[in-house]
Amino acid sequence: MTTTLKPATAAREASHQPGPLALALRQGRLELTQFLRSRESVVFTMGFPIIMILIFAAVFDGEIAPGVSFPQYFITGMIAAGLMTVSFQNLGIWIPIERDRGVLKRYRGTPMPKWVYFAGKVIMVVVVGITETALLIAVSVAVFDLQLPGTAAKWLTFGWVSVLGITACTLCGIAISSLARTARSGSAVVTPVALILQFTSGVFFVFTQLPSWMQQVAALFPLKWMCQGLRSVFLPDTFAGQEPGGSYELGRVALVLAAWCVIGLLLCLGTFRWTTRRDG
């Protein structure tokens, strides 16, 4: 009965607009729903790294160093490349499509805070990234006896390298999405960047066998450092001597990845476009 005495304005105040966390989670759920419902993207995103590692395992059997099999080495690159596919490529291709379709324009017309859109993408990417990595590792353990990290410290390193790496790649993916002017050009922009980085960062080749100038160029970008951080997790400590710096340089890994998070965030905030050029 008392509720009927409330003036209309009070009712307006009292109505519940979700808080920031709830908004982000709702957006994340929506993004995940959309991702999971487009079957091809699920199959390709999840399946690509697994197929790649199976091919590698079939092509290179043998050992790269005493006690270190080729697949044990290349799993690090595949995990890193998989995380990059889920975040950087996925967003760099999808956001231009959403922009072109006017989905972003619609969001801009609502009271949704801008960051909620990014948060939704991050949540989607993290969930898909974790699932995809877990699958990749499970298949690798089953098929070629991948040795899992043996200490809590290594698992911890696995955690922070993945989180920093996927965050940096997500932000860079959102940032690069503004370069594409149309829905179609998204993959044209992103795919070469991703492929070149993968070839030069030690995903497909043993990093130290690459020409040193190429190693130096790759060291400017996050993927090389993600691979290196993951090698410290999956390869024995004795292997550290074979790294270009003579050790896994975890401090530097953290620093470069964090720097790319900051650069990516600034690029996102500074250059993100909600509408296409023809929207005036």
């Binding site: 709702r26 072109d100 379709r101 006017g102 609502t110």
Partner: protein, 282 residues
């Protein structure tokens, strides 16, 4: 001011390179009013409306929409306006119900999503994926998303394009209901009957200039316009005359024919005639 006028624009200008899309537009929309913008393709309707919505930057002029400059709106501003854009694509892989529920979550005082879906006539399509909707059904979804936040001010850019006649009538009723509940409505349209049926005032825009703003019945001095009286002569020919005083002419004709005037019609220019004349002069 804030209380009487929902929109005030003065000297609005926007050019794309050499092409002036909007030139010196002055516009006032009162609270609670239904205002229609009419104009041919490329006249500048969308550009004007999207400046008011905060999507496009103006080159010059002053604008106040619900007391805010749309380029730098107050925090709560987007909660108070609803937007139906002219051409906008669908969401991927989501159902009507999911999209409307999701958007309801963005607003402080959203309407009941199921109610809104029913209101725009999509109740039967609630679970359908948005990309499977027909053109007119997609447009209804756009309208649903425009009104889900219970806006004080609703913009609709050619909302009924693609509607079948029945849907258009239903939509008109929806607009009337919203207006009756106090919503200020700005809509653009190419349909003169729509402007006439809905709008309290109509603005005619051509080549970026607002050439007239008036109630539909007063547009282009329609009421003062001469009526055309036509009738059939005893020889079977149709004759007609323009007259400022048609009643007098008809009385005279009645006397001449000794009662019933064969084939008598008295017409005034339709809104369409007036409108075509207005934009034809550009």
């Amino acid at each position: 001011m804030e209380n009487e006028l929902a929109i005030v624009a003065r000297g609005l200008r926007k050019a794309y390179g050499e092409n002036t899309a909007v030139a010196e537009v002055d516009l006032e929309v009162r609270r609670g009013e239904v205002f229609a913008l009419l104009g041919p393709n490329g006249a500048g309707k969308t550009t004007t409306v999207e400046i008011l919505e905060g999507y496009r930057r103006r080159d010059a002029g002053e604008v106040s929409v619900l007391g805010s400059d749309p380029a730098t709106p107050a925090a709560n501003w987007r909660n108070r306006i609803g937007i139906v854009l002219q051409g906008v694509g669908e969401f991927d892989e989501l159902s009507v119900s999911e999209v409307v529920h999701h958007f309801a979550g963005f607003y402080a005082d959203a309407d009941d999503p199921e109610k809104v879906i029913a209101r725009v006539g999509l109740a039967g399509k609630s679970r359908a994926r948005t990309h499977t909707l027909s053109g007119g059904q997609k447009r209804r979804l756009d309208v649903a998303l425009g009104i889900i936040g219970r806006p004080e001010l609703l913009f609709l850019d050619e909302p009924t394009t693609g509607f079948d006649p029945e849907a258009r009538r239903e939509f008109w009723q929806l607009i009337r209901d919203l207006a009756a509940a106090g919503t200020t409505i700005v809509l653009t349209t190419h349909y003169l009957d729509e402007a006439e049926a809905l709008a309290d005032r109509v603005g005619v825009i051509a080549s970026g200039r607002l050439i007239e703003v008036a109630a539909p019945e007063h547009l282009g001095n329609r009421q003062q316009a001469h009526a055309t009286v036509s009738w059939r002569t005893p020889e079977g020919l149709t004759e007609s005359a323009e007259s400022a005083t048609p009643t007098e002419l008809v009385t005279e004709l009645a006397a001449r024919f000794g009662g019933e005037v064969p084939g008598l019609t008295v017409t005034r220019p339709t809104l369409e005639d007036i409108y075509l004349q207005m934009i034809g002069h550009r």
